[in-house]
């Protein structure tokens, strides 16, 4: 083979994920606005693309499934069928099956599951077909795929009225064949022939006279007869039938009227006919789609994030080395005077520096992806959650185009998901409660992302009941997070922070939605691991807001350089809350080993970086020294250092796995002069400091 199939398959997976997301988004739009043609067209395009691309890489059952889906969408689109909530649910089930199929393709071992998936796929294909036949999907009762809906047209309707007037009863008979039935169509005819002996078969769904429609496992008959149920049942029961349901129909209005199907050619000129005479609308949509897709395909390439990592790292190194060369050139000019070649070199290097900076920025930009990728996942989640809890939620997404480093995007999803689930589960009230509180029935959940300086701010706001301060206090006391004395001294704002403490969220709180044993402490920790922070505001009865602050990129961080034990160390600036000068006599001992200082009203445990890194301690008595106050997980620690060096950007490098080293070393960086410095891990330092005091 001339091309690498594996590559194609990987591309296929990435494409498939994207298309599933596009379809999910479009359907959510459709649910809000059932007439949105553009949204339906985009679902169609995605299904079509998935059909072809899965066939190309040889996943025939995926292709078959999406093919059926495409047929159904084609019908819905061509006949202007409004999309009902039930249909959206069918679609979502389809997507879930697709997702399962895809994950099982990747996982060779999932044989048993695969059968199950194939089964649900078959069921769904039937539903797709029945929708494509003009039947509305069954609402959420019983397994999907049951009972094709009976629809009446003018003629049938009159017929029903006539028969009824002649004293016959009307029955709806639903028949389900066994899964392994042979010749279902023949059996269906047999049933109808039998029934015709004792009454009139008004219509069947699917229509058995229409040869283009295949008989699936289920079909329904509208039947009229003077006989009663047992006699009818006797006629209807032939072999290989799983079950027969007979229901007397008293009100024929319950049957849906079909949406007027325009006859393909005889109907009044529709919009489509106008735009693309002679072309079927489906074809038109596909060709325009291909054109669009071609356009974007030619302009993008997929690059692995590792390659971008390497590029960024190399560019950063070049920037650093340029600094060195620049310095040397400056010295040359100083030595040999101006006007010579040396000055030209200096000019040229300065010029080069500009390009290098641009290079670095461009590479950084190429790693950026819009946060909309994460946000849009929530639309489905919020919809499902709201349905499950009978809540009405209006999810408003803003700033979806705001870009963040791919690595951050990959890791921010879970914490955000947790907070979104919390907001729907605990934050927003039921429509009844909201009405009682004088609010609109629909709760508002607002996600926003925007730039602020060198950071990205993400807010998650709801207009629900807000956090209950008293409940938080009670819970914190119950779970032994604080004792009552501590509690008494805490300001309300500090009490709110208790929800971020480990152990606050307990098993008791676990619901099927949020909870799950992971609490806000995990959320905070994962955000801080990304160099970010999270804050909380709430007003009882008015709602709550979480603010997440994140750095733009992970590869380069702003760091405070400090000196201790003769070496320079870097502290991520996001972990440094302030730097202060103290006298060594200001340090108090607690419990013999631990040391603390007083910082305004707080007591902050303190650690001497010298003694930590070099097992020596220089300086004593009344000497002034520097303290960098670092924070992690809402806890603070002071770090005594010999000297504050400066603040600068550093490129994070990993220490190669060959050397075991202290847990508080997070990595290394290279300074402009080529020296390697080590990066300190604030989390571990805070832990050690607290450990020494307790």
């Amino acid at each position: 083979m001339t091309f690498d199939t594996q590559n194609y398959i990987e591309l296929f997976y990435q494409d498939a994920d994207e298309h599933l997301q596009i379809m999910t988004d479009a359907l959510l739009d459709l649910e809000r606005n059932p007439g949105d043609k553009e949204a339906l067209a985009s679902v169609f395009r995605s299904a079509h693309t998935m059909k072809s691309s899965s066939a190309m890489v040889g996943f025939m059952h995926v292709s078959e499934f999406t093919h059926r889906m495409e047929d159904m969408i084609g019908y819905l689109r061509d006949n202007d069928v409004p999309i009902t909530s039930d249909m959206v649910t069918v679609f979502f089930k389809g997507f879930d099956v697709l997702k399962e199929m895809l994950s099982q393709l990747q996982d060779e071992a999932a044989e048993a599951k695969r059968n199950q998936t194939n089964h649900s796929a078959k069921d769904l294909i039937k539903v797709f077909e029945s929708i494509a036949n003009g039947d509305a999907p069954a609402p959420e009762d019983g397994p999907v795929g049951d009972r094709p809906r009976i629809r009446l047209n003018e003629e049938n309707r009159n017929r029903v009225e006539e028969l009824r007037l002649s004293g016959e009863s009307i029955f709806e008979i639903s028949i389900r064949f066994c899964d392994d039935v042979q010749m279902a169509a023949t059996r269906a005819f047999l049933v109808i022939n039998n029934l015709a002996r004792i009454g009139t078969v008004i219509l069947t769904a699917p229509d058995l006279d229409d040869e283009s429609q295949s008989v699936v496992l289920d079909f329904s008959i509208l039947f009229s007869s003077k006989e009663k149920e047992p006699a009818i049942r006797k006629q209807a029961e032939v072999s290989e039938i799983e079950r027969v349901e007979i229901r007397e129909v008293t009100d024929i209005e319950q049957f849906e009227w079909p949406h007027s199907k325009p006859e393909a050619s005889s109907a009044a000129p529709s919009k489509e006919n106008f735009e693309a005479p002679g072309d079927s609308p489906a074809l038109e949509a596909i060709t325009s789609f291909d054109r669009r897709e071609d356009h974007s395909r030619n302009n993008t390439v997929r690059v692995s994030i590792e390659k971008l990592d390497r590029l960024l790292n190399l560019a950063a190194e070049m920037v650093i080395h340029r600094g060195r060369i620049h310095e040397i050139a400056q010295q040359l000019v100083l030595h040999n005077g101006k006007g010579g070649l040396e000055e030209e070199i200096l000019d040229s290097i300065t010029q080069q520096g500009l390009f290098l900076t641009q290079l670095q920025e461009t590479i950084m930009e190429s790693r950026m992806v819009p946060i909309g990728m994460v946000f849009s996942r929530f639309r489905r989640v919020v919809r499902d959650l709201a349905h499950a809890h009978n809540k009405k939620v209006n999810l408003v997404l803003e700033g979806e185009e705001t870009e963040l480093d791919k690595k951050i995007i990959d890791q921010i999803g879970d914490p955000l998901m947790h907070m979104v689930r919390n907001a729907v589960d605990h934050g927003l009230e039921t429509p009844g409660e909201r009405r009682a509180a004088g609010k609109s029935e629909e709760g508002l959940l607002h996600l926003n992302a925007f730039h602020q300086g060198n950071n990205i701010l993400i807010s998650i706001r709801d207009d629900g009941r807000g956090l209950n301060l008293e409940a938080i206090k009670k819970k914190a006391l119950e779970n032994g997070i604080v004792n009552s004395e501590e509690m008494a001294s805490m300001a309300p704002k500090e009490c709110l922070q208790l929800i971020f403490r480990p152990g606050f969220s307990t098993a008791e709180q676990i619901t099927d939605i949020s909870g799950r044993g992971v609490g806000m402490d995990v959320v905070r920790r994962s955000i801080e691991a990304l160099g970010g922070s999270v804050e909380l505001e709430t007003e009882a009865g008015r709602g709550a807001a979480f603010w997440i602050k994140l750095p733009l990129t992970l590869a380069i961080i702003q760091a405070l350089l400090v000196e201790a034990g003769g070496e320079i160390y870097a502290l991520p600036i996001s972990n440094v809350s302030e730097t202060i000068r103290i006298r060594r006599s200001d340090v108090f001992s607690v419990n013999g080993t631990g040391k603390v200082i007083r910082l305004r009203d707080d007591v902050v445990p303190i650690l001497n970086l010298d003694s930590l890194v070099a097992a020596s301690s220089n300086g004593a008595g009344d000497e002034l020294c520097y303290v960098a106050v670092i924070r992690h997980g809402g806890q603070y620690a002071g770090l005594i250092v010999d000297r504050m060096v400066n603040e600068q950007e550093i490129v994070i490098k990993s220490l190669s796995g060959d050397i075991a080293c202290a847990s508080y070393i997070a990595g290394a960086a290279i300074l402009g002069n080529g020296r390697v410095i080590l990066i300190l891990d604030a989390a571990s330092l805070v832990e050690q400091t607290l450990g020494a005091v307790v």
Partner: protein, 163 residues
């Protein structure tokens, strides 16, 4: 054929260096480069024979002190001190040596098995002794030196995890 011959030649070539007055050799194929000694960045709580880390064209690599590893008396680096950068099993690391002497062409027949005793070195660090005209060169088993290191690390990690 010429290629093969060249490779065979290379396999018999060793970079020799001096440590505490004795001559050692490492296979030339695992030596990446030899650089002058420069001040290293110490890494807290690393293994005792790890001198620190070094910036090798943007890569941060660990440097081990062979004198300490071989339990020889320590010595301040001077003008002739070098760092031999080796690559073993895909990992790059530096070794501090007193001075680098030359590239030796060793005839396979002249390599004797490691002596069972009589050296200060653990015999599994030695792949053989090369008898040169006027000296004896200790050929090092770089893999073994690293593997042993690894097991030490593992032991340490296991011990600290057990605490």
């Amino acid at each position: 054929m010429a290629e093969k011959k060249k490779l065979e030649e290379q396999m018999n070539q060793f970079v020799s260096f001096v440590l505490h007055g004795e001559e050692y050799g490492v296979p030339i194929l695992c030596v990446q480069e030899i650089i002058r000694y420069e001040t290293l960045t110490r890494v807290p709580q690393s293994l005792p024979y790890v001198d620190g880390v070094l910036n090798l064209r943007g890569q941060v690599i660990p440097v081990i002190n062979l004198r300490r590893k071989f339990e020889l008396p320590e010595r301040e680096p001077d003008k002739s001190t070098r760092i031999v950068v080796v690559e073993v099993q895909g990992r790059i690391m530096g070794m501090v040596v007193d001075e680098v002497s030359e590239v030796l062409q060793v005839n396979m027949d002249e390599i004797a098995p490691p002596p069972p005793m009589g050296t200060h070195l653990r015999t599994d660090f030695i792949s053989g002794m090369a008898k040169m005209q006027d000296s004896l060169v200790i050929l090092l088993e770089i893999d073994k030196i690293l593997t042993t290191e690894e097991s030490v690390i593992l032991e340490q990690t296991a011990a600290s995890a057990g605490e």
